[in-house]
């Protein structure tokens, strides 16, 4: 009835035992008078009960409901796929000297199966740096997962990896997709999908490890640990590691490789901080800080395209209107729940609109050549230190336009903005030592 391959390293919920020799365990384990979901590791509330008396897990409901009638079946991962000698790498690009140094370090750590953090600035070419290590792992016959908490990162990555690793079968998994599951040496998936796996992967590459919701979700962190073989290892990629990761690095519990320079060898643009005292009160009267208006007018006359980041979705129409009144026209607003979001971002890429007013959703994963960034209300709690560094990282990503302006308007000085400036300064210091140019 079921294919053996579907069970390799997975945990499939079934009501009756399958015909192949898959091992089952109860989906909801009773410990004392509490129940723990064996897929997501969360504890059930006393109210999570159906009318017929069965229990069910509400935390991982999105992946299909688990009740106390279900058992999770698995066959231990046998790594049964055709081995590709060269690792299947068909990428023909060249790594820069400093990318190569980082790539060798990553390869060394993967070979010794140690957990590792690749701390590379925005626009350093993280993906390409991992290619040699990935090729080596695939040549060993390892099963590898490349995972990210953000589905748009996965969707953007999949075609790139398909091109770079033409000789390797790849599966892309995310919520709500149409394609059925396939057993492949290389799996690209969202971190949620890892909940379906158990001791499957020899190497897990976690892209954007500090992104929402992975950083704050114990369920997803457990999913990564669970999907990895006991002898496997993981490789974390980020430009802005959170406090806990930085602490692990300082305590030497986690190996780290820095890439403080972008692939074109230029330093990161520093955030230019400007005070706009009580700008929110001004906005009530449809007025924006005069310094901001002046700056944006300057951008429009120079035909410099820019992104304007604002704290909340509710601020978008208000600020858009205030800009119109000030004579700064032609921009569009975009936010997470906007159905036309891909079209608007594409329009910005096609240079048909002069600027976008956006919330933090465009903080990572988007590249526009020759762009300036303005943050209004950078002291708002929604702009974390990591978010600010990522936003600043939108500027100067292309080799043709390696510099640009990042301006942050704040009501007052805050620790988050200071730390973000500190992090950029620290990376630039390291970059300068490696010969970076401003």
């Amino acid at each position: 009835m079921q294919n053996d391959e579907d069970f390799f390293g997975r945990q499939l919920p079934l009501r009756g035992a399958p015909t192949n020799g898959a091992v089952g365990q109860r989906a909801l384990r009773t410990v004392g008078d509490r129940r723990q979901c064996q897929r997501c590791g969360q504890w059930l509330a006393v109210t999570d009960r159906l009318a017929n008396g069965d229990w069910y897990c509400r935390q991982c409901l999105q992946l299909g409901r688990l009740t106390s009638q279900h058992e999770l079946y698995t066959i231990p991962e046998p790594n049964r796929f055709a081995r590709v000698k060269s690792g299947g790498l068909t990428w023909t690009g060249q790594l820069s000297a400093q990318q190569n140094v980082a790539a060798q370090a990553v390869l060394r750590h993967v070979k010794t199966r140690t957990d590792h953090l690749l701390w590379a600035v925005t626009g350093a070419g993280k993906t390409e740096i991992v290619y040699p290590a990935l090729a080596w792992a695939l040549a060993q016959g390892w099963r590898v997962a490349w995972t990210s908490p953000r589905v748009d990162v996965c969707l953007e990555l999949a075609p790139r990896l398909r091109q770079a690793f033409g000789g390797v079968a790849q599966a892309l998994l995310y919520g709500g997709q149409a394609d059925p599951y396939a057993y492949c040496p290389l799996t690209i998936c969202t971190t949620h999908q890892l909940l379906r796996f158990k001791a499957a992967f020899d190497l897990i590459v976690v892209d954007e490890v500090d992104a929402f919701p992975l950083a704050t979700s114990p369920m997803l962190q457990r999913a990564i640990a669970n999907a990895q073989k006991p002898k496997g290892c993981h490789l974390l990629l980020t430009a802005t590691p959170g406090n806990d990761l930085q602490q692990q690095v300082r305590r030497r519990q986690l190996a780290v490789t820095y890439v403080p320079l972008r692939y074109h060898g230029h330093l990161l643009p520093q955030i230019d901080l400007r005070l706009a005292w009580r700008w929110r009160e001004g906005l009530l009267r449809n007025r924006l800080p005069s310094t901001l208006i002046h700056q944006l007018r300057g951008y429009l006359t120079k035909h410099q395209r820019f992104l304007l980041f604002v704290p909340h979705v509710v601020d978008l129409p208000v600020i858009s209107q205030a800009l119109q009144l000030a004579g700064i026209q032609g921009g569009v607003t975009v936010h997470a729940a906007d159905p036309e979001r891909p079209a608007k971002v594409q329009a910005m890429r096609d240079e048909t609109i002069p600027f976008l007013i956006t919330t933090t959703i465009l903080e990572r994963g988007v590249t526009f050549p020759n762009i300036a960034v303005v943050i209004l209300g950078g002291d708002d709690p929604v702009f974390s230190t990591a978010a600010l560094v990522q936003i600043a990282g939108r500027v100067g990503r292309s080799a043709d336009f390696p510099s640009g302006q990042v301006t942050c308007y704040c009501h007052s000085h805050t620790k988050r903005v200071r730390l973000a400036r500190g992090m950029i300064a620290h990376l630039n210091l390291q970059g300068r030592r490696q010969g970076g140019r401003p």
Binding site: D48, L50, A51, N52, Y56, R58, L61
Partner: protein, 225 residues
């Protein structure tokens, strides 16, 4: 501090002075305001036969096409995108906790109806085993109801929600009366309760059986139309 049962956002509860002075337990909200107001309630301008929201109060075309007994149905909400999402998560994904969302509005709607016996539409045995609950009775808090209908054991069909209108209308009678139904129903005004009124086929089949059981009058209430 608790989270909204549907969207998972933290609930912002503000304690008022009146609540402090009352010295009674404070009712904990389980649903946030945004989620509670996501559904469109049906106003007084609806079809008098099926309860569909429309611009006037005349009998709608779908109802005119029905011959035979006349069934008066009332509905609480419009079956729009938000309601579809809710049904998908509650009924088909099986998140039984979401029943709480509809308990208060349905209790208010039941208050407005005049009836003696409340009969929810039953689910068949297979559904009871796999889904684990009857989606209709889940919305009832303490209101008494009678399981006067059963699903025929031979009734093995695709679910109504998977069919087109013409197929739905051809569905054979799926219900039988429960063994004690005659004593329960004789001379009573019966209110049928269902989740969604789409073509009215299911409710009419149920009403036919209830009339066979000796009921004086049958009306129906659905959550959505």
């Amino acid at each position: 501090m608790s989270a909204c049962i549907w969207c998972g956002r933290q609930l912002q509860t503000t304690l008022t002075l009146a609540q402090i002075w009352r010295f009674t337990p404070i009712a904990q909200a389980t649903v946030c305001d945004a989620c509670q107001h996501r559904f469109a309630a049906i106003t007084s301008q609806h079809c008098p036969a099926c309860g569909r929201q429309q611009m006037d109060e005349t009998v709608c075309l779908d109802c005119q096409r029905w011959s035979g007994i006349r069934l008066t149905n009332h509905a609480v909400y419009v079956y729009d995108a938000a309601m579809k999402t809710y049904m998908q998560q509650y009924k088909f994904q099986g998140d039984y906790a979401l029943r709480v969302l509809m308990q208060a509005p349905l209790a208010a709607a039941l208050q407005r109806e005049a009836y003696d016996v409340l009969v929810p539409i039953p689910v068949d045995q297979t559904t009871w085993r796999t889904r684990g609950f009857n989606q209709v009775t889940g919305w009832l808090r303490n209101q008494p109801f009678q399981q006067a209908l059963l699903v025929r054991a031979t009734h093995k069909e695709r679910p109504q929600s998977a069919k087109a209108r013409a197929d739905r209308l051809r569905t054979p009678q799926p219900f039988i009366l429960a063994p004690n139904a005659n004593q329960l129903l004789r001379g009573q005004r019966v209110l049928l309760l269902d989740d969604v009124y789409t073509t009215g086929r299911t409710l009419r089949h149920a009403a036919d059986q209830i009339y066979l059981g000796g009921a004086k009058a049958v009306t129906s209430l659905t959550l959505a139309r």
